[in-house]
Amino acid sequence: MSPPRASLVDTKGWIMLAAIAAACIAVPVFNLAVPEGSALHLPTYLVSLFGKYLAFALLAVALDLVWGYCGILSLGHGAFFGLGGYAMGMYLMRQIGPRGVYGNPILPDFMVFLNYKELPWYWLGFDWFPFAALMVLAVPGLLGFLFGWLAFRSRVTGVYLSIITQALTYALMLAFFRNDMGLGGNNGLTDFKDILGFPVQAQGVRVALFLATALALALGYLVARLMTVTAYGKILIAVRDAESRTRFLGYRPEHFKTLAFTVSAMMAGVAGALYVPQVGIINPGEFAPTNSIEAVIWVAVGGRGTLVGAALGAVLVNYAKTVLTGALPDAWLFGLGALFVLVTLFMPKGIVGTLVEHFGSRRAAAKLPPAPEIAPKLAEEGRG
């Protein structure tokens, strides 16, 4: 008899993929096919808003991969999101060409304003989409790899690691605020015109960006699933629960963690790259530590270690943010803080984790890695 193998897509995964597929049909239909005057028409600004939610959902899945399955509470995933966003932003800036306020065919407006004579070397190649797309993956991936390699090899874990990730994104924020960085300083990159030759503001392009984000979310989920249901994922969970024990079996936890962290950083980069054309701007504010912490809350609310929960949490919390910041702008941060406290106290497994516990049969539950507590496990086992 062969043991039941965890399938690549489980029940909750199918539900999520079905929801994504339904959105991919409904959004174009209600936006493009239903005429504008109709009550059923979906305004284009909402298409982009939903696209933004899905980009955040992908960021949440990336975060859940390292936090939920590997115990790495990253408080700096916004750094990778922001870097991916800047890579896309640089491509979009180069597409403006001579249509800028100053009409310089090569230099973006802010460079003309700052008296740049020529394009800095690191802007080269970004006018070519395939190169920019590669950088969307490579820059966050490389940073994630270097950071992970150094931190995990030195056996930095728990709160110390969280603090370093926070410092990482904070340092990037300060760096990107500088005009000398050559990336637009305080104002960041904006006034985008075209993407792949199509006007970025056009209704059809907006729908296409939404569809691309939905596809990226589905792919990101599948990659994360692949990494968590295989033997690799089981070892990752073993590292999360008893890192030093895995060493005595002959595993090198730092390799497993670095790989997961790198893949997660790349996914976050893609999320950022899809976010930027839909919101029309990227600035150093994206590196703000609060953004990264907000992402942690999405994952906690949805259910850490479930992937689907992370995506759901991102969408729900951001929807609540949209509604609340519209109705009571001052209340949002209190609402977010209260949400985190309440979920931690009363629903430590998050929405999806709690649902699985209720509806999943015992056997199904045994197949899932139980959602661990939200607080990072600080106590490494003592000398034994």
């Binding site: 033997a231 089981k234 629960d241 024990r245 002959g250 090198r252 390799h255 034994g384």
Partner: protein, 268 residues
């Protein structure tokens, strides 16, 4: 394995023309190992030899350095001085934990340490001997292990009924057995077993002794234990540690009759 770990000057017995570079025919050879923690001398010139296929019980009062010795062998603690030679050729003091595990040294901890959120069967799966690189585990052989292979091991340690349960649900004694099962899955040349029967009933203790004796038929085993009945049941050589070095060594009858051992450990 790093080159540095292979002994720099392997001492072949003089006059021998055999190409064997081994320093010693012993499987494990601890030579004058010293460990100091913040001024406390945990090991004071510990020397110990274990032959291939031998089973050895280590006894001694708390603080004698038993667990520290295992920490040194498995790379968790680096000795200040001294050598630990494995298989006559590798100096373990130069290697880290995964490298040492890779050489074929498995360890069961004093406090049973299994992967609680994994099923019993998955605990065995992760322990199974074979390549352990990150990329290999994504698509490699460990994803295609036959269930029978795992079930055979679980039958051996009496946990076959529990294969699909999360390891967290097991009793203390069952966790001990699961960890022994994981050791077997690793199929090491040397098993280090730290207090395997702590918290077990008499019946479980007797079964564990039988299991370890069977394992010792084709593995070298070092067992740390306080339970003298259990040690007697192992029917093997005994070393008594005291204050970081070997106080007495021999059969259980010789060691337990040794006046020094009676003085520091067994009590009058």
């Amino acid at each position: 394995m790093s080159e540095a770990a292979v002994l720099e000057r392997p001492i072949a017995p003089s006059g021998s023309h055999a190409p064997d570079m081994r320093l010693t025919s012993a499987l494990l050879y601890l030579d004058d190992v010293q460990v100091t923690f913040d001024g406390y001398r945990a090991l004071r010139g510990l020397s110990l030899t274990l032959d291939k296929g031998e089973m050895r019980a280590i006894i001694g009062p708390n603080g004698a350095g038993k667990t520290t010795m295992m920490d040194c062998i498995t790379g968790k603690t680096r000795p200040d001085t001294g050598r630990i030679v494995f298989d006559g050729i590798v100096d373990l003091t130069k290697l880290d934990e995964p490298a040492i595990a890779d050489l074929g040294i498995g360890r069961k901890f004093q406090k049973p340490t299994v992967f609680e959120s994994h099923t019993v069967a998955d605990n065995i799966l992760l322990a199974l001997k074979g390549p352990r690189a990150a990329f290999a585990s994504l698509f490699g052989w460990r994803n295609r292990v036959e269930a029978e292979k795992i079930e055979r091991l679980l039958t051996k340690v009496g946990l076959i009924e529990h294969r699909s349960r999360p390891a967290a649900d097991l009793s203390h004694g069952q966790k001990q057995w699961l960890e022994i099962g994981m050791l077997l899955a690793q199929d090491p040349k040397l098993l280090l077993v730290d207090e395997p029967v702590a918290g077990m009933t008499d019946h479980e203790t007797a079964e564990t002794a039988t299991l370890l004796r069977e394992i010792a038929k084709d593995h070298a085993v070092v067992v740390i234990e306080h339970d003298m009945h259990f040690v007697r049941a192992l029917q093997c050589r005994v070393s008594c540690l005291h204050e970081g070095s070997v106080l007495a060594e021999g059969s259980i009858d010789v060691v337990s009759a040794d006046p020094k051992v009676v003085e520091v450990y067994l009590g009058r």
